[in-house]
Subunit: 453 residues, 3 copies
Amino acid sequence: MRGKSTNLRIRLPVFLFVAQVTIVALYAAFVTYDDQADARFQNNRTKPMENAVYKDYPMFTDIQVIIFLGFGCLFAFFRLYGFGGMVFNLLTAAFSIQWAILVQGYFQFSHDGKIHLGVINLIYAEFACAVVLISFGAVLGKTSPLQLLVMALLEVPVFAVTEWAVLKYLKINDSGGSILIHLFACYFGLGVTFVLYRPHLNEGHAKANTSYQSDILSLIGTLFLWVFWPSFNSSLTLKGDDQHRAILHTFIGLSASTLTAFALSAMLNKNGKITISDIQNVTLAGGVTVGASVDMMITPAAAYALGMMGCTACMLGSKYLSPFLAQRFRIQDQCGIHNLHGLTGLISCAAGICAILMADEEMYGPSLYEIFSHRAPVEGDPKLHKLQILIPGLQPGLGRTAREQALFQVAAVFSTIGVSTLGGILTGFVLKLPYLAPPSDVFCFDDQLFFEV
Amino acid sequence: MRGKSTNLRIRLPVFLFVAQVTIVALYAAFVTYDDQADARFQNNRTKPMENAVYKDYPMFTDIQVIIFLGFGCLFAFFRLYGFGGMVFNLLTAAFSIQWAILVQGYFQFSHDGKIHLGVINLIYAEFACAVVLISFGAVLGKTSPLQLLVMALLEVPVFAVTEWAVLKYLKINDSGGSILIHLFACYFGLGVTFVLYRPHLNEGHAKANTSYQSDILSLIGTLFLWVFWPSFNSSLTLKGDDQHRAILHTFIGLSASTLTAFALSAMLNKNGKITISDIQNVTLAGGVTVGASVDMMITPAAAYALGMMGCTACMLGSKYLSPFLAQRFRIQDQCGIHNLHGLTGLISCAAGICAILMADEEMYGPSLYEIFSHRAPVEGDPKLHKLQILIPGLQPGLGRTAREQALFQVAAVFSTIGVSTLGGILTGFVLKLPYLAPPSDVFCFDDQLFFEV
Amino acid sequence: MRGKSTNLRIRLPVFLFVAQVTIVALYAAFVTYDDQADARFQNNRTKPMENAVYKDYPMFTDIQVIIFLGFGCLFAFFRLYGFGGMVFNLLTAAFSIQWAILVQGYFQFSHDGKIHLGVINLIYAEFACAVVLISFGAVLGKTSPLQLLVMALLEVPVFAVTEWAVLKYLKINDSGGSILIHLFACYFGLGVTFVLYRPHLNEGHAKANTSYQSDILSLIGTLFLWVFWPSFNSSLTLKGDDQHRAILHTFIGLSASTLTAFALSAMLNKNGKITISDIQNVTLAGGVTVGASVDMMITPAAAYALGMMGCTACMLGSKYLSPFLAQRFRIQDQCGIHNLHGLTGLISCAAGICAILMADEEMYGPSLYEIFSHRAPVEGDPKLHKLQILIPGLQPGLGRTAREQALFQVAAVFSTIGVSTLGGILTGFVLKLPYLAPPSDVFCFDDQLFFEV
């Protein structure tokens, strides 16, 4: 019976202390400061106010709010699982970020044998953390903290490798992270929940419901996400007009999807009333849908239309597709991540591809070759020299055509979905180890199991 | 009986879809990017970090918090109407902003037949939205979402025209929006609630009360407003020392009114206890009262005194004037907007006029003609040339004297109050249409009517 | 019996009005604008976007969130004392900041007989306010609002004098405020609670417990502190790479202490469950522990290790030391400030001293003499001239060695602890005056006493 125990008194501390000792050892051996944070690199030409921290930190705090307060409150929607939603979010997030600093650092920020750490790495790491938290949404309430930590332990490297490979070899445009964040997180999470299938939960669960207070708490989480989502989508774009557009499109997309969500919620309810869980989730669909084309010249109207379309897909998915997937395909998607991140992510990718196909110099001016940097002429091409007069500092590219770039986007979508689904399924099998203390069906969605209540 | 139904299944989606299709069509036809957000306008002299987005976006996120989290939580104070307060706030806000982008864009940001969109327009639109939300405070709990949307549909254009006309023709100083935001919103809202008078509610309503949890939620809303109000009041001032002063004055005003609110709350309670609704509302009075003079050289002490005075007026208004208005004048002002925005707004305007009358070059230096730009000498006046040596880029003004400027302020106060009251009354009559699904008296302040609870 | 009454109807308004009239008179007589906020000092060389407000205001808003929302929610953890925690926090904070503007202004920001006010003073004043609020944590639920105001009235000047004397005469490095903020606040608060000892409370109190809702509210407070703590610790460092490091270290320290807190919480609970109050408090220990060395080149790994150590000390303190202090030493520390601010503060000071002893030019480059400005060569030393070529604007220092600087740090620790303990004890005696309306034992931790519930 020992294996079926969910007592964490030994297992959780053992996992965490081993993890922390390993992390601190790796930090000591491999992590140093980035030039912008290192006192030795400052000299008489350094202008303190031009330090990169002032570009990155305001975006970073906004993303912090999204990760810790936004997801934290949003996940606290179950009546008896408020601590679980909010506190396991904190635990998983803190662990994921520390771990991502190392793994992403190894792949993307290392040179001279060291990982160079600045606030920009924290932003990347919080994106990796967002990936884990979205996947967490699929298994919320059905997993022990130890399972969540092991999931993060495995998902972060799979994500970091995928991110690195896609950016390095396929060289795609994905400023808002529709492919790398939302699709990856969604299909990874669905893979995990597929393996962790619990047949009895399909019949409903006495504790899988909300209360008035928990619904309001979750709404506050929605509002945090709503308010700061433009920062999330724009924090890794080019600075200047690109970031400006990313902010505008995200805001417009969100505000369009908010209205559509109210309309569909009333329309699809048999009494014409508004369902609060629609407001908590579906209103946010626009933020994902504008992602892949968030910094492109798609026009404000297109951002608006994308918000409406994403919201419609998300709503229909949650009403009709999710129950079907749970019944027929053993995919129990607790927070409906397939609707909010999968369907919308696919629409977003399609829109991004259209925007790429339509992009030309007339619409973008010479900036075209900055935004779509792989379309810039190759080194030695006389056109490159002409462009560099217009945009000093333009890097040589790969001379891709719009159509080529679009094909690479398609390749990125399929390979990301493939890798993440496979990674999720394998991770799911690891999470079935009884030592990881999965809660029994009856104790799902219940804080009593892991908290002194 | 059909007309008396409050079922939203058809009406709400119809309204929203028609609105959204119209909006997206208008965006497609008329909305383009502002130069700072348009890739085509970037060239080899563009410095990305000098893009206007970096001046405006930090203020914009603070205002977002005020609108969605601040108002959202503050309006959730009724025990059984937490969803209504928070969710209808989201709906109304999202709609108002989209709509204001078009209407204000037409009046203030259009040239070459296009509305030019940047984050600065979003700030303006969120101010228009704040106007609608303040007016919403007067009718909270007594209106269907459809009524709120129609109110926003009508109020935004009336506001945008008033704003445009006052700024273009009367050319006033009102950085904190005391006249254009607070007075307009207050008298519009009072006009609406006057027409929507419900006699039975004067006898009290079984559901019109708070719970411990709802009071705490509302307090959190107050704290969001408290914390970010300096950004609200300072976001449209001139950059530099003007914005600096606006922040200082708002902070000082709020912190003075907070202490006064505690003092008066205990003093006016027969058991000497603190009334929580005073803390939720009256503490904020100082933020409004400093508004009209928020960027002027009024001294920190004057900002402090204004905070105390505004708070006193607001408190006395809520204890004595509001019940009187409800009983005698059919003005049922649910959140007491007349106290927090009307009385304080009037004090603020009076203070602004005093500050204008006392403003001279000794106190402001040549900056006088930047802050009070209409007092700058007219084109051709030799004094203008002298001033332009001290302040390069100073625009020619109208050569107004302090007294003339003060008179224009007075004119703006009266015309704003007149237009908004009239607009509110007419809007109220529209809102009485039975098709807009007004709740019956017994279902006021109750989420059950419009939500699946 | 009059003296034992807790009716605030006269006393609170009298105190507050006298305070406000005094404050406004002092503001009128002595407070003017800082050069960056004064219109008269702007001229044709002024660049508005280089106004200091743009460096300071983003940090200021983050600290505002910490003070009003973070502390406010965190202190609302008692089931029946949510108003008390949140609302008395607002009252005490608003009063402390106004008062600190004057007192700190007198000691640190006055010249030509005037206190010069800018946003930077508000940041300093919010730090003084944080000191009062931490001390408040020791007596939460056992004090009337009048006692809290009197405590602030006395603590702010003692703090301001200590801060001024330590910075002026001992000239220490303490960017994160481990000595001046955390140790001062902790020992002051312990001094107060020692004098206000209530023997009956050691036997437990029927109302001194939490509910599910109040625990979640308090967790939200924790998350606000967690998210914005890097801004708190970095807002007074040098700009540039120093501030960058301060942000990194605080984030790393917090995220390390968060994992350790989960591990220890499960380990020290006999059922292996997580105790929610550990998550609310102990997770934050890392933010304090990195404080004294937050801007130094301590390496990310050291910040991580400090987070783990601080968390361990805090957790062991709360499990074993706090009950012991309450039983044996009459020190009833309601929120465990000795664990979260005292023990961690001491570790932080020790770490800061080690970092100072190890600091050399190899590690810091010439920036060494900026960060440790008192180690810069004295005026006239030829080395100073050489350094000034590398770092233009380097000020002459005192030529201290690392060891001398370390000794001054030690002196600062002991003198701060001494002054604050004494100040706290004396303040405690003042707070025992019956006129200040201390609640009787039975009405501790109960909103009914001071609020209309």
